[in-house]
Amino acid sequence: MILDFIVGIISAGIPLAAPLLLAGLGEMFNQRAGVFNLGVEGIMLMGAFVGFLVVLTVGSPILGLFAALLVGAIMGLLMAVVTVKFKAQQGISGIGLFMLGWGLSGTLFRVYVGGITSIEGIKTFSFPLLGKIPIIGEIFFQNNILVYIIFLLVPISWYVLNKTAWGLKVRAVGTNPQAADTLGIKVERIRFQCIILGSMMAGLAGAYLTIAQTHIFADNITAGRGFIAVALVYFGRWKPVGIMWGTLLFSLAHAMQRSIQVYGINFPYEIAVIIPYLLVIVVLALSYKSQLLGPVALGKPFNRGSRG
């Protein structure tokens, strides 16, 4: 009974962590280049809707995921123009992007779909043999294919950031853009690339929610996951593995809250739903010292003329 309960939580928590991890890794690239992109929530909503709509009309999950990448890139481009070209205040710009994505996805959903409809999407599949192993099979080998790809992005992101020339440029731009500029690194170009890459990952994370997780779209379906992903980047100290632990901790708490409801333990529903959000605040409060480890130029627009 207790074992079932725990295994249930872990096996439910891992797929819940996937979209947070994907969006969080994307946000990590943004922030390592010095841009605080709060628009992730809005981008996820648009990715979720567009991915859903494509699967609903065309029927192909692959095309749905590509559409979400595309819409993420478009919104990322907008964010990059506003924050890098026009050097606008990044926090407020992100809120503008969030409202844009929220309002637009809700509107287009009412115009093109109307009501709650479910799609086939991507199903979970069980590995032959491995999936049959008790406990381990249930936890590790019975997920949808995207979960494995997303977790594989953790070492890939680490490698790109720490072992490639491009990753070095990204870190330079986020730490000391003036020095990077002197060395001939195109600060604005690197920031554009990072914002667009991160936004594509956010769009894909949104599509994961509708195509692989819930199989429906509803107004504001992300329910703050984009913002939570941003918070977990702080918690994970801007490192891929740290972000992964953060998203896992977080989604296990989320899964536990769900199990508590399923098991009918007497607890007001609303109070249970609060737990993840409360956890984010606690996590932010506890990791305040780690902010010193963050990218130095985070949130600061780059002016070539000024001396920073």
Binding site: L38, G42, L78, V81, V82, F86, K87, A88, Q89, G91, I92, S93, G94, I95, G96, L97, F98, M99, L100, G101, W102, G103, L104, G106, T107, L108, R110, V111, D219, A223, G224, F227, V230, A231, Y234, P268, Y269, E270, I271, V273, I274, Y277, L278, V280, I281, L284, A285, Y288, Q291, G305
Partner: protein, 368 residues
Amino acid sequence: MKNKLYNETIYRVLIIVIAIFSALFVGAILLLIAKTNPLKAYYVMFTEPLSGKFGLTEILVRAAPLMLVGLGIAIAFRSGIINIGGEGQILIGAIFGTFIALTFPNLPPYILLPFVFIASFIGGAIWGGIAGWMKAYLSVNEILSTIMLNYIAFQVYMYLIRGPMIDPKEVSYGTGVPQTALLSKNAWLVRIIPASRLHAGIIVAVILAILVYIFLWKTTIGYKLRAAGAEAKAAKYIGVNVKNYLVLAMLLSGGFAGMAGAIEVCGVHHRGLESISAGYGFSGIVVALFGGLHPLGIIPASAIFGLLIVGADMMQRSVTVPASIILAIQGLIILAIVSSQIFFSNIALKEKIMIKLKLMKQGDKDDS
């Protein structure tokens, strides 16, 4: 000199107008994607509310909460703290006010109403203050904390109006609509125009706007608050305890949003119900930015966005595009306004444009 000021004003207005038009232009593309004729939609949105008593009074009904939230956000922004928690602060303010109004239904209005507003202020102030305190003493990013507090406030509010504070009639009839009991008439704000929903809250809001102006620009505390926001390091040198001022700013900011909750409860709905915040927490950000973070700019700005919100509702009926598009358009306006700031802060760029517009040259000639 006078001429220079004049040119400066023309430049400023020109930039803002261009920014708004670019936002509306992108908005038009979005309307096309939503299978709507943008010209028709915009025409309805901007003119229909102005064409009759209903529309005009409704604009002011929306302007009242927008003004209060906008004022609160301006106080926070001026102190260098970005308060995105308007929605949550409205809800907590609303539930505090509703609680007082339901507990003391027999107090005369001139005692009960101030009491309700103070309670709402305190409720909102607590909710904002949490984020302010965490920003000041734990350096928790206030944008993230206020957003999380929004989600938490919504669940707490829903729990209360579904459970402990639900209208007993909803329980006995078995309908179960999540709303509190109707407030006694003593807690209703007077309707100032008969046969409309326009209530005295708009007057309260305008008076408070003027008070905020006096507070921020004519008092020492207000000055220090703005100093802490403009240049925290310099403010420290002149002996301002920046941390305490951050908390104070968030207390005030949340308190104003909380009073917006009281205005909605006492002025419009006369009870606490589910959609009481109606997105005012986010629209208030647009109002504050559009009003130049200045109380006297926020008064007209809240009327303009009141118009847009009423217009969007009317658009939904006659052009059949969902009113939620207004949220997207407001998002675009935010992006346009924050992008336009570079044309004011970058002096080289500004001079280049002004010369192109022949504003500077003329000014120089007149000076000599």
